[in-house]
Symmetry: C2
Subunit: 370 residues, 2 copies
């Protein structure tokens, strides 16, 4: 088994739980947030900086790496860990989400998805087998089944057909996957239909994947609906396997996801807003770029001990962002990732102390979602 999950402590009042994932590249405490390194680099930061902020596993992207530089090149480099000089954990998604996002540039059949590259328009074909082949070449510790992320909103019939195909694809992925040093996770789909979620979860659980993702959430639906789907879906997943909520990374959704028993999260949100000049803090978002911080010589977040907050002022970070200096993007990125990673750590501690509900209450009392 490439990875194993150990349940350390379950919250007595909610689904929240603390656990540990053992992988060939380290042991990771959960619930955890995984920074996104789409193109074999977490934008603007170095592997050392990721380590320093406590990141243990990063996500990279099959679709992007398949196009550039190519999976064979990465394999020739000795795999993704060696290529990007990251000895922590890596998870690759299957590319499904990206090719389905291409809209008119792609076409779905039972066999797979034909699509045109967003870079040069060249023609490509991804199937479950191909997605697994590419992910085996990349060599991440955790890889994902090739699925269709059901869009929102979707008619029941579309969602049903898509979800059933995703299940058939999951079987093909499992069959194609032969690397023993990496774990293949199944992805529960089903759109916003509870019976489809149930069916998807049941079918995938029968296949005995070493971990399960809940996919197709955070795709435009109201948050309340996402929480309902989690409440309905997560209990149907095995307790002794990690559960991964894909594409979620705002503090409110992290808290609710953890409450419903999610162990792993990823999202481009913290890094993307960082590059737009927005910092995440314990008191809500702070748009460092705003004029009001021009002469503010305090750190971005007085409660934060990240590299940025230990060394630089809001005024300096703002100056760098306003003058389009690359270093500014690094500083806000480091801050946001550090913030989220430590936010997860606080949640783990709250669960260990069996005060997660109090933590959640406290969080909502202060959270400003704007």
């Amino acid at each position: 088994m490439a990875i194993t999950y150990e349940l350390i402590k379950k919250c007595s009042q909610t689904g929240a739980r603390v656990g540990r994932i053992y992988t060939p590249h380290g042991v990771f405490d959960t619930p955890m947030f995984m920074p996104v390194g789409t193109q074999a680099t977490v934008k603007a930061v170095s592997p050392d900086e990721l380590k320093a902020m406590g990141a243990s596993i990063v996500l990279s992207n099959t679709y992007h790496l398949y196009l550039r530089p190519g999976a064979d090149l990465v394999a020739e480099a000795g795999g993704l860990h060696k290529f990007m000089k990251w000895d922590g954990g890596i998870l690759t998604d299957s590319g499904g989400f990206q090719v389905f996002s291409l809209g008119p540039l792609r076409k779905i059949t039972e066999e797979g998805v034909s699509f045109r590259s967003h870079i040069d328009g060249s023609k490509h074909f991804l199937s479950p087998e191909k997605a697994i082949e590419v992910q085996m070449a990349l060599g991440a510790d955790i890889i994902m089944a090739f699925d269709e992320c059901v869009p929102y909103p979707a008619e029941f019939e579309y969602a049903r057909a898509s979800t059933e195909r995703t299940t058939r694809w999951a079987e093909r992925c499992q069959k194609a996957h032969t690397r023993k040093d990496q774990a293949l996770f199944g992805i529960v789909q089903g759109g916003m239909y509870k019976d489809l979620r149930t069916k998807s979860a049941q079918d995938l659980v029968k296949m005995d994947f070493p971990g399960y993702a809940v996919g197709g959430l955070s795709v435009g639906e109201p948050k309340q609906l996402m929480y309902e789907m989690l409440e309905h879906t997560v209990p149907q997943l095995p307790h002794n396997k990690p559960r991964y909520l894909m594409g979620v990374g705002t503090p409110d959704c992290l808290v609710e996801g953890v409450m419903h028993g999610i162990d792993m999260f990823d999202c481009v949100f913290p890094t993307r807003v960082a590059r737009n000049g927005t910092a995440m803090t314990s008191k809500g978002r702070l748009v460092v770029k705003n004029a009001q911080y021009a002469r503010d010589f305090r750190p971005i977040d007085a409660d934060c001990d990240c590299y940025t907050c230990r060394n630089f002022s809001r005024a300096y970070v703002r100056h760098l962002l306003k003058t389009e200096e690359i270093f500014g993007l690094r500083l806000t990125t480091i801050h946001n990732l550090h913030f989220l990673i430590h936010f997860m750590k606080k949640m783990r501690q709250a669960i260990l102390d069996d005060r997660f509900l109090a933590f959640r209450q406290e969080f909502w009392a202060h959270y400003q979602s704007h």
Copy 2:
């Protein structure tokens, strides 16, 4: 005296010399190369990375900082060192070179230069007094007199009038400068006219500046002409003061500059070409972005022990550059600055060993200037 210069060793066959500059922010071995941090940041790298590569002093820019974020703001932050969190040395240029480069956007009178901002077209006026006022507010260890960099080519009459005005401005700068913890350097001008260079040097030396720059070189003239001007000018500068050749930073010019007795250099060249995907190596330039390096898993320079070369392959750096990843710009920048800083270190050692001419001969035997 804010800074003092100690001559450690003079080459027995050339003008090359090893020395030390003592400043409020450290002791620096010369000859040295100063990375350029135009807008209070050396593009793409952190203060820590500058330290790690052995940078001891960086250059920042009065014109740019005057416009953004403003000298008063930097002063309020506690000065440039504190603002940018750099406890090493800082040199600010006077802004003269930048405003004169604005072309039709500026107008020169005896009083100073009126110009429009390249950012928003707003009107401004820089005079010797103003340039010094701004530089005192910024608080660098070494500041520069406000001068006109005589363009190339220039008629004798233009060069004469300009150089004489630069000398008058130098007097006004000296009078305006009252901060005891920073050193004001004079700048020798004179275009490509030896008698004007002589006059400029003699006049400035009489004013007893703590250091002298040779300005107005590397402005488009043939390199041979620059070397001739150095050969003519440097011997007219006092031996007990540091000599600074402005805007020079390619290996060939550094070697020749050192041979003629220059102690300090700065240039955007290494950082600028880095961001264009060109690496400087002991064997000449290497355009990492080129297709031939796509599957080259060796470091950029096998002889280099910079962070980039210790950790990443040409293939990876190329991938980052091709996919426009910010981290790629950092990696090439670190490499190029590290290369130049260590190149200077090798020259210092050669001078100390009294084998500088051999070093120079060896250099020219292998240097490819393309």
